[in-house]
């Protein structure tokens, strides 16, 4: 057994390695090294946790057994998961962190001696508060992530579920948690502890069901943040530096990502949480417009012709590309264009896809060099000087109405200035509005050619026509 001081030093070391792991992600070149730092930090933490036990019992074998079982499942998932399913994978992983936090808190509650927190029924006050908070946040993370997972996976409808008095119910439940924790500290009764956890599960569900599909980038980031705070809460309970540092890192990371996502949609965090966005599409209004305005539609041949005669093309991918798995076909198309000396770049809106950076990963999977992929603010001025914008699977993020109509629900949202291109090719299955329920003016512009088809099929047809 190593001394408590020595193990604290080691935990600090693994905390620092985790910081370096995140630091590595500042550029793709250093990112892999960063990941190794993270793995090293984890190995140190796990070994130290073994060494900090006085005497080993038969349990070691079981611990290793469960470690191997869990590890194999994790490794299997990591190698099998398609890149398009990353959002639901991350949501699923968040739920596991949340549930693990709950279980650790329960274990600490049932056997406080193991962590020097007192004895059952007589746990130190501070520890009790910390473990209840850790368990509550963990439980919210768990059930919230499960709902997010079901929505992303399509098992549950992505449309918001709202009912009257929802927010009041959440508020009451939230207050109830604090009241229960207060009495838990006074009475140290098991049933109160379990009630806190149960109510927290319920809150997690209620928090996520009113949030709609396209707000998912915010939800995932938010749950990411919660999983961090849960870990930090447990870290305080167990007086473990590695956990406290990591929890704070992950918590602030998720919070920053939520902030970036909200800003990219020009929505306040509160309005995302309150949910219900896109629930009531004014569909009659849209139909009217459709009848009035003519739309130019074309086929793969027209699109190929336009692009062949262009000197620069900007590709705007969106969630539709992920759904259709069109990223490989897209890359093929771009290769053909490049052979004709056409300059091709990619423009990515921060909320394209269902999680932060989703499009970047898909393009990376299709072997698109990352220096051809640009973020909104870096490329937005280039649209005016480009010949063709190829919008594949994106919609709301290109809608010029966000700049012109203060009444529009997406007004003020930063959008890609696609309409400034000489011509716009819009791959879409129908004229239906995007998630925000707003008709896209871009469809009716003179320089827009609509390509009505599945994104993958259309791209493949264009590839054929480029020969």
């Amino acid at each position: 057994m190593i001394s408590a001081n020595l193990s604290a030093i080691f935990y600090l070391a693994s905390g620092i390695l985790f910081i370096l792991a995140l630091r590595g992600l500042s550029s793709p070149d250093t990112s892999r090294q960063g990941n190794y730092f993270g793995i090293l930090g984890m190995i140190i933490a796990v070994i130290v946790s073994f060494l900090s036990i006085d005497s080993f019992s038969i349990n070691v074998i079981y611990v290793l057994l469960f470690l191997i079982i869990g590890g194999s499942i994790g490794a299997f998932i990591a190698f099998k998961i398609p890149m398009t399913a990353m959002p639901e994978l991350v949501a699923g992983f968040h739920s596991l962190v949340g549930l693990a936090a709950v279980f650790v808190a329960v274990a600490a509650y049932l056997n406080p001696q193991a962590f020097n927190l007192g004895s059952p029924g007589n746990i130190k006050l501070a520890s009790l508060i910390e473990m209840s908070i850790g368990a509550a946040v963990g439980a919210i993370t768990f059930s919230g992530s499960i709902i997010a997972f079901l929505k992303l996976r399509g098992i549950m409808s992505g449309s918001p579920i709202t009912f009257i008095g929802q927010h009041y119910l959440n508020l009451i439940l939230g207050i109830a948690i604090f009241v229960l924790i207060f009495y838990l500290c006074k009475l140290q009764s098991d049933s109160l502890f379990w009630t806190v956890i149960l109510i927290s599960f319920l809150i997690g569900v209620l928090l996520i069901i009113p949030i709609g599909g396209a707000d998912m980038p915010v939800v995932i980031s938010m749950l990411n943040s919660y999983s961090g705070w849960a870990a930090a809460g447990i870290g305080f309970t167990l007086e473990n530096t590695a956990l406290i540092i990591t929890g704070a890192l992950v918590g602030s990371s998720g919070a920053i990502l939520s902030y970036i996502m909200c800003k990219a949609m020009n929505r306040s965090f509160v309005s995302v949480i309150l949910g219900g966005f896109g629930a009531n599409n004014s569909s009659s209004d849209i139909k009217e417009k459709k009848d009035q305005k003519p739309v130019k539609s074309g086929n793969a041949e027209d699109a190929a012709f336009l692009m062949k005669n262009a000197s620069s093309v900007i590709i705007v991918p969106g969630y539709g590309m992920a759904v259709a798995q069109a990223q490989h076909a897209l890359r093929e198309m771009v290769d053909k264009l490049k052979k004709n000396d056409i300059k091709v770049t990619y423009a990515i809106h921060p909320v394209a896809g269902r999680m932060p950076g989703h499009m970047n990963v898909l393009l990376a999977e299709a072997n698109v060099p990352y220096d051809e992929v640009f973020e909104l603010e870096d490329i937005n001025n280039d649209f005016a000087n480009s010949d063709v914008a190829f919008v594949i699977g994106a919609n709301d993020v290109t809608n010029p109405i966000a700049k012109t109509d203060p009444k529009s629900p997406i007004f003020g949202m930063p959008v890609l200035d696609v309409e400034k291109c000489k011509s716009v090719l819009f791959v879409k299955r129908s004229l239906s509005p995007g998630y925000a329920g707003v008709d896209n003016e871009l469809f009716y512009k003179d320089n827009t050619l609509m390509l009505f088809a599945d994104a993958k099929k259309m791209t493949e047809d264009i590839v054929k026509n480029l020969d």
């Binding site: 793709p28 611990v63 869990g70 998932i77 990591a78 596991l96 650790v104 930090a232 473990n240 992950v250």
Partner: protein, 103 residues
């Protein structure tokens, strides 16, 4: 008067939030998905608590309640650790391949 150790932990916590804040802002947006998967993996360092809980049981009674919760937490956290780091590695590998091709 002595300072409560809790205050030290709170200091570490607050300072780490600041470190997290600055480090995460420097992450390039194209790596936001790997950022999420790696933070997922590292937050599973909660496994140390699970291991301690699981090992605390006596040899006569391996499956007492607190150890069982420990075992469950170990399994869940292990899925996350291996899954999180490996999927991150897989993603980051893709960012590398392209670069080599270009050279």
């Amino acid at each position: 008067m002595e300072i409560d150790p809790f205050i030290f932990r709170l200091s570490i916590f607050i300072l780490s939030i600041f470190i997290g804040y600055y480090v995460v802002w420097s992450v390039t947006p194209s790596l936001h998905t790997p950022l999420m998967s790696v933070t997922n993996a590292i937050s599973s360092v909660i496994i140390v608590g699970a291991i301690i809980a699981a090992l605390a049981g006596s040899s006569d009674n391996v499956f007492e309640a607190s150890s069982i919760y420990g075992f469950l937490a170990i399994t869940l956290a292990a899925v996350n650790i291996f899954g999180g780091f490996l999927v991150t590695q897989r993603m980051l590998q893709m960012y590398k391949k392209k670069k080599n091709k270009k050279k």
